[in-house]
């Protein structure tokens, strides 16, 4: 079955030649190197190291950043990369999102010149892997109340606390950790091997099984003074990272949706029940046409958002809408595709159940679905409703 990415309005014709070449490069790689191995990676619960190497070789890590060995592609190209990666697996896209948007980006935007030179070139090639520590066991949607703290000890900082649900944590060479210094949220770079730092892996996930998720534990963790990110204070730091990652997710989710649609269409055409292909029944056609409708709308949303990212006319709420919508429809499409596949839909022979389970995480991380609703609600009414205290 040759993969035909659903593109009903030929939206990819809006891409530049360069963006199309990047798309084809990533799509071919996913087809040849990822899809044949993804089920095994999931059942073993590992992110194959050769994928890290290939992503670095292709040069897609930190794609929209410029300088320090990063390519400086458009945000549109970054979106396309996320879409093609997530058509393979959300865990693969998560790896790239975390590395590029959550670990490289804060160093690139808020780091010192020395920090940029030290880390970014090697992160772009995948030689160094980074993770992003914001969420804590007791603080998910409201990271502002985090308890991880840093103390200035004169010639070093001392970190104490714990982070949870950290993608790439155990396999990282460095972590960008958000912690309070004298009550103000600041970013710190913690390196594997720093005294008092450990990153045990969290096991037992039914979702994103090919992605590593970890705790980060800081027990009197001592880090040199030059590891603080000098350029940002407060929640603006982590939130600007999240904006970029969420943007990537709004494209990525479409990749998973396209994969599910493709599989459902092929299956419906070949599965015969009551003497006819199930694709010939109106109820099934209704499902397929709904999928097509939602994917097409999501594509238009993602493309227009990318344009805004590229010309600077975006606001964070634009990103919230696209992340929320596209993940939501992708998840519904995955469930519907699962239904169309009948019993076969629960097998690892098909991508459906894997995407479906993955998308449950995608719905929650990078701002839960409802947190994005609240962001939009605040935008519409001017009244925040995250907390009871107005």
């Amino acid at each position: 079955m040759v993969y035909e990415a659903l593109d009903f309005y030929d939206i990819d014709s809006q891409l530049t030649e360069e963006e199309l070449m990047v798309r084809d490069m990533v799509r071919d790689w996913v087809e040849e190197e990822v899809l044949p191995k993804i089920e095994e990676a999931c059942s073993e619960g590992v992110f194959p190291d050769e994928w890290r190497v290939s992503l670095g070789e292709m040069g897609v890590l930190g794609a929209p950043l410029e300088g320090y060995g990063c390519p400086g592609l458009s945000y549109t190209a970054y979106g396309v990369i996320c879409r093609e990666l997530e058509r393979g697996d959300s865990g693969l896209r998560s790896f790239a999102s975390v590395q590029g948007s959550l670990a490289m980006y804060p160093i690139w935007d808020f780091g010192s010149e020395e920090q940029k030179q030290k880390y970014l070139p090697k992160m772009a090639t995948g030689e160094l892997i980074g993770c992003f520590g914001l969420t804590e066991p007791d603080y998910g949607s409201n990271p502002g109340d985090m308890v991880t703290r840093a103390e200035d000890k004169g010639d070093h900082y001392l970190l104490n606390g714990a982070k949870m649900w950290i993608t790439n944590g155990t396999t990282s060479d460095l972590a960008v950790v958000w912690a309070k210094l004298e009550g103000v949220i600041r970013g710190f770079i913690v390196e594997t091997g720093d005294e008092g730092y450990s990153a045990p892996e969290m096991k037992g996930k039914h979702s994103l099984k090919a992605s590593v998720t970890s705790e980060l534990v800081f027990q009197d963790c001592k880090i040199p003074k030059d590891r603080i990110l000098p350029g940002v204070k407060g929640l603006k730091g982590p939130f600007s990272c999240l904006n970029n990652a969420r943007f990537g997710i709004s494209w990525g989710a479409l990749g998973a949706a396209q994969a599910c649609f493709h599989s459902a269409k092929e299956y419906a055409l070949s599965r015969i029940q009551f003497d006819q292909p199930i694709a010939s029944y109106q109820l099934v056609q209704n499902k397929l046409s709904w999928m097509l409708r939602e994917i097409t709308k999501g594509q238009l949303l993602a493309l227009e958002l990318a344009r805004k990212k590229d010309n600077g006319s975006w606001i964070p709420e634009h990103i919230s809408l696209a992340k929320m919508n596209n993940v939501d429809i992708a998840l519904d499409i995955a469930r519907m595709a699962r239904d169309i596949h009948g019993a076969n839909g629960i097998l690892d022979e098909y991508c459906i159940m894997r995407h479906m389970a993955n998308l449950e995480s995608v719905k929650t991380y990078e701002g839960t679905h409802d947190i994005h609703n609240l962001i939009l609600g605040r935008h519409i009414t001017g009244i925040q409703s995250f907390t009871r205290s107005l």
Binding site: M25, G59, L73
Partner: protein
Amino acid sequence: MVEIAVLLKQVPDTNAKIAVVGGRVDESAVTSWVTSPYDEYALEAALQLVEAGGGSITAITLGPMRADKVLKDAAALGVTKLVRIWNDEWLDLDSNQVQSVLAEAIKESGADLVFCGKQSADRNQGSTGPGVAEILGAACVVEVSDFNAAEQFYLRPAASGSEKVTVNYPAVITFTKTESELRRPNVRGIMMSKKAQINLVSSDAGASQVTFKGHTSPAEKPPGKTFEGSDSVPEVVGLLRDEAKVL
């Protein structure tokens, strides 16, 4: 240091449906154009040869503007000299015309080694490599399936199996599928390719000596037949040979 010309042809994706409309294959219905697969093996071989011993590569294509894509793709893999030959009047060039304009561009490139596919995925002819070699006064090794950059030998089919041959330069080598894994571009290469200049040349191809009459769809397959018993095997083999023409 060797100067290699690689001939790349743009063809419809080999998975594409080919429809004949009004006596001609409907190219406007083709949504995906790619580099002819055997040509990709030729390009890979050239890249390996240059990596091993130095030198440079000129990628040459004969085709309309859309064929720039195959050159850009080559540029993304590091080829810096790109030549597209075209003349808007050209339609249905015959083998001679194709070979002569290609040979002219090869001479211009200064190449002493020419790599190309054993045949293109659209015309399936296999005349270009040997024909160009003849015009250039060069040797030609056809259907090469393996090569050794260091020892400069090529593996070609032989009655007994295969044979390793060496060849005097100038030479044309036509490639079939090789064991080499085709390299992937990377973002850096893709960004370089944006800057790569394509040298568009036109030339006089002379007159065609072939009258193009049109394309047709292959004959419809007769409906399936079922035969009883193993006695029918000779008949089926006969049909495979004479009717289906696949044996």
